[in-house]
Symmetry: D2
Subunit: 364 residues, 4 copies
């Protein structure tokens, strides 16, 4: 196992859903970077469950910093931050101990760790751990913003209902507008339909999946490399660390498989200032694994939440007999909308790591 | 940059399209594994350009082993294999030196390496380097086969025309049948239509994209980990090292974003021998980053070849003026069908690496 | 920076001497390993300052486990353990803020992190962090013991006064005897002289250095590799992470530079059971980077504690003028005797990591 | 196994002593760095066996570049260079196939790789591979020199006979003078005595060990980190990759264990230009793992060559009986003097890697 990633900036995540605390270490942060805690809490708030469309588990989620910060600034040594788990009801999981929930990690964890894994609430596989990722990502976003790099995301689709997409030139303003909404879409009418679909799924004791579109602007040309440390490789490797992700595509992605080259290729042109730019951005800001100065752009597919209240087939691991389960507990009928800041968080960490590697470390 | 990947089995790729040779190092191979060179050549042959639908550059591509093999078996020390570049016509590229080809890496390479990169034929970004990956992957496939693991792939779609897919239980036989075909599809009628579409694109001096479906059977339960070293993370990180890849999805992938949980979840059941299995495989054989014993299954999107013979806009990097180019040279109007064994190769390397990490190192 | 090490078992250390807490993450531990907390506290106790020969800072140092343990056993997910810093007197350091202490990291930290590093008590450079290493090492030692591997160390020399050395075949009993002593030597008379030397240095407001000899028995043949991931490479890379280490040597080490081959070479012979062994162990249990089945054996040189109460030259970083300092605060006149369990801890982590990599993961 | 090292600059070594070729890949080199091949050959020449005190195996050792160089400059993509093995006499090793040579890697390689390792001439463990390291190191030295960093080494001791040491301020001139000598010492009279000792050992069919002192000047302050990625950690991890190394110490090293703090600590003072410097350099240019602006300085202990012509005890691995061997073949009675440029090479690679990581990438 390795619950860490990054090359110059290493982020390590620990904790289980129902243990005493979860948290992160960030090793390799530049020194002297101010951390605005209010802004960080605001960012983490975007991930919190809210309203009837989310789990009823409610955690205050104020990070407690154990190291790496001095006088409100990063000190250059590893930063450790904790989130205590307070609203834990493990007894919901007692009944499920021997019966793996379909399409959860229960079964593979049981086999891989000989029944020793802590599976209460998903254990170390839980979406709860994305709260820790948001601490790291929120800090990365603040550092990136001072370098002129902004990362934004929104819910592009839920249950087949689509939002508008970011388009060729997403702006910091658009990112902020979406971030301030309780339901993170560009077009609120689309958002209403999506919420309705989630509500209907919840009423059916079922769940739905979704797609998150993420973009980053101000990313300097030249990050990443050909072959195995390209921006696509590094973003993909990190994004699949978010639970429930089943796909990632950059720029036109899977749709590019249906394009012709004359349609897909992004012509190089001069902008009004005489600088080289591209007429469009089907590449999603990356050529040959390397950022090309256009906005980074990618989509992430989230499967429907595996925890549903419907009757499902499973097998009792003790008795080795087929059985059925209904999953109780407190669950999200959709995780994709809450995953929007998590995708931003992971993208920000990866981009900052690449910038640190490229030596783009100074304040502007 | 890093042109290498892997944890226990490290594969490092070197060479440029028009340099003296390309090659690979494999560090971490188990000792005593026989290498069947004829079988390896047969595998590499699948990647070679053939017929009118491929580049007219023809390389013999017989690997020359410099180290790591003794008496036909791996010796435990790093294996180095070379492929000489023989059929090189660099003058085709002279004219393009100052004019980056749209959606190629020319422009980012020029900027990232201050004009020092060797861009002839795509340099280190060239699809030519996938021949080296096929040496490593071909060796990995032979070792995996002795452990009962088989990797296969086929062209799932080109230009919007779809082949049948592998289905719930792909077999070694099916993999072999596809591998023996000159055009790697399951349904030859679909293949005919695809080839027609490629031919039409070529006649239009244009190119088309495609999708490769890859599966692996016999993969033991328990490979991979939660979070950042899961099977999806590691496969994605490696697969994006293949030029022209713009997306990857596991199991139902992006389609799962439109599913409900009750539809997507894979029920656990007992098979006829009383062993636990799943009724279907929307997860693509992976839960929580860990293989679950079902076939591994994923799709890879390839964009259309960026080299096209049509007139395209670009900018002259010397004069900083807008201009137009027509790309000559010898190119593939589609790379997706030749990428089929490359996807297999990379998947085999990653799976073998995970098996070595898990200690599943012995012969059966 | 990277405050972590290991390949399969990753250990990450965080915290500053005067921050709220220090701690570690262990990622990659096998699941189901019982942790005996009393034994762990006993191990950590060996590192604690005791008596007049050590700093007067006294910390309870009972680790608080936040994750990775369930029902007293490792769960397979990352283990996080904290030690709170309770007995902190940062005002001792106010006066030194602008005046770097000679041969401390103050000056380089000031320059590297633009004055942002937390230098109170040594910050992240402090010997205090070795308490966190002892948590990880204590856990590794327990797991190793169940595999029949035992790690021991003793103070081989202080201020030029030598203890007996472990000899050709150190035993688990000998390791235990030394571990139970308040001053970790084999020969107590030598220990008395050493303590006298430390006391004299303390009375002179000065400090002394020392050498720790470490050995591991039961280490299976075959761990490590040629070249850059050999046992020597990995142990050295980790051991230099302990503050104040200035040298490491394996087997006869620097003395082997004065030997002839006929003297240094370890003849292969059969033992009474007819198994291959070596007549002596000048190699320290390692040939070509790989363990050879003989006891692992190495020495570590510790410089004298840089904090001394004598007047020393320094430069005021604000005024850029030469000045003098006397270091107050609470310090050890020698760190080498307290470093004995720390060397064991780091060695145990590295050996366990190599065993996990070799797939030697099961209980006996 | 891993025959590679480095973080930003990755160096991977392949080949066996008696295979077709050995070589290296350097991945992560900055682009546009001129490679002076004549200077590189001159550097590699220093490692070559010469005169009666060295093996009679003679290889031309002119590197053949397969990739990564264009128009005499680095191109930014992985550089691969080969050295063919021409003067191979494997039959010398036939007799030894079943009888491991004491203190060679034969026995551990046999056991680790189930008898599959290529042990002819030492296989992948052979000192022959240091020729490949010298290609990488020679290139690193050229790049460092353009950044004002110079690395030098000399033979500090052989068989207990000592050369003068570099002293507080070694210069580029001193490095050059030593490099031009056929026997790499500062004081030629000492060198004469050393050569006499080697000759006597050879006449006795025996071998001797030695110590190499290495220094680097112009190293910027701030390279490395606390804990596990410090300069000492990284240098040690790489240096132990050189065959026959049994110890490394920085600054006063093991002697510091006998010092008092008041003697060991390096006082900070102002130099004539008013810049901060240190009055002496017992720390070897490193505090807390970080370079402090003083010359980097360390010693490396080499054991006597294990191949000797005297009768030695061993065990026949086939018959499991005790036996005796006399090692024929062509060997060095001492490797330490030929190791001088190898230590420089490895140090240069590590320092360049740290500088690239720190973003100190530009030409002066």
């Amino acid at each position: 196992m390795s619950s860490e990633f990054g090359k110059i900036l290493r982020v390590s995540v620990f904790g289980q859903s129902h243990g005493p605390a979860i948290g992160i270490i960030m090793d390799g942060l530049p020194a002297g970077e101010p951390i605005d805690e209010a802004e960080l809490l605001g960012f983490m708030d975007r991930r919190k469950p809210k309203g009837p469309l989310s789990t009823q588990r409610r955690e205050p989620d104020a990070p407690q910093f154990l190291s790496g910060i001095q006088d409100g600034k990063t000190s250059g040594s590893p930063l450790c931050a904790l989130l205590e788990n307070k609203d834990v009801r493990s007894k919901d999981y007692e009944a499920l101990k021997d019966i793996p929930r379909p399409s959860h990690a229960d079964y593979v964890a049981y086999k891989k760790w000989d029944g020793q894994a802590d599976v209460r609430g998903g254990g170390h596989f839980s979406g709860r751990l994305t709260a820790a990722l948001c601490i790291a990502g929120g800090i990365a976003k603040q550092i990136l913003a001072r370098k002129g790099v902004f990362v934004g995301a929104h819910l592009l689709a839920v249950a087949g209902i689509a939002d508008e997409n970011f388009g060729l030139n997403p702006t910091q303003e658009l990112f902020s507008q979406v971030a301030e909404k309780s339901f993170p879409v560009i077009n609120d009418a689309c958002g209403e339909s999506m919420q309705q679909a989630i509500k209907e799924a919840a009423e059916d004791k079922d769940s739905v999946g979704g797609v998150v579109e993420c973009a980053a602007i101000g990313v300097p040309l030249g990050l990443g490399s050909p072959m195995f440390e390209g921006m696509e490789n590094r973003l993909a490797a990190a994004i699949f660390g978010i639970p429930a992700v089943k796909g990632i595509e950059f720029g036109r992605g899977f749709a590019s498989a249906c394009q012709r080259g004359s349609d897909h290729n992004d012509p190089l042109v001069l902008d009004e200032q005489g600088n080289i730019t591209m007429e469009k951005n089907d590449a999603g800001g990356i050529n040959g694994g390397i950022t090309n100065g256009m906005p980074l752009s990618f989509n992430v597919a989230f499967k429907p939440t595996p925890s549903i209240g419907k009757l499902q087939k499973s097998v009792n691991l003790s008795t080795k007999e087929e059985t059925e389960i209904i999953i109780g507990g407190r669950h999200d009928p959709c995780v994709a909308h809450r995953a929007v800041p998590v995708v931003e968080a992971v993208a920000a960490i990866v981009i900052l790591d690449c910038m640190l590697e490229a030596g783009l470390n100074g304040h502007q």
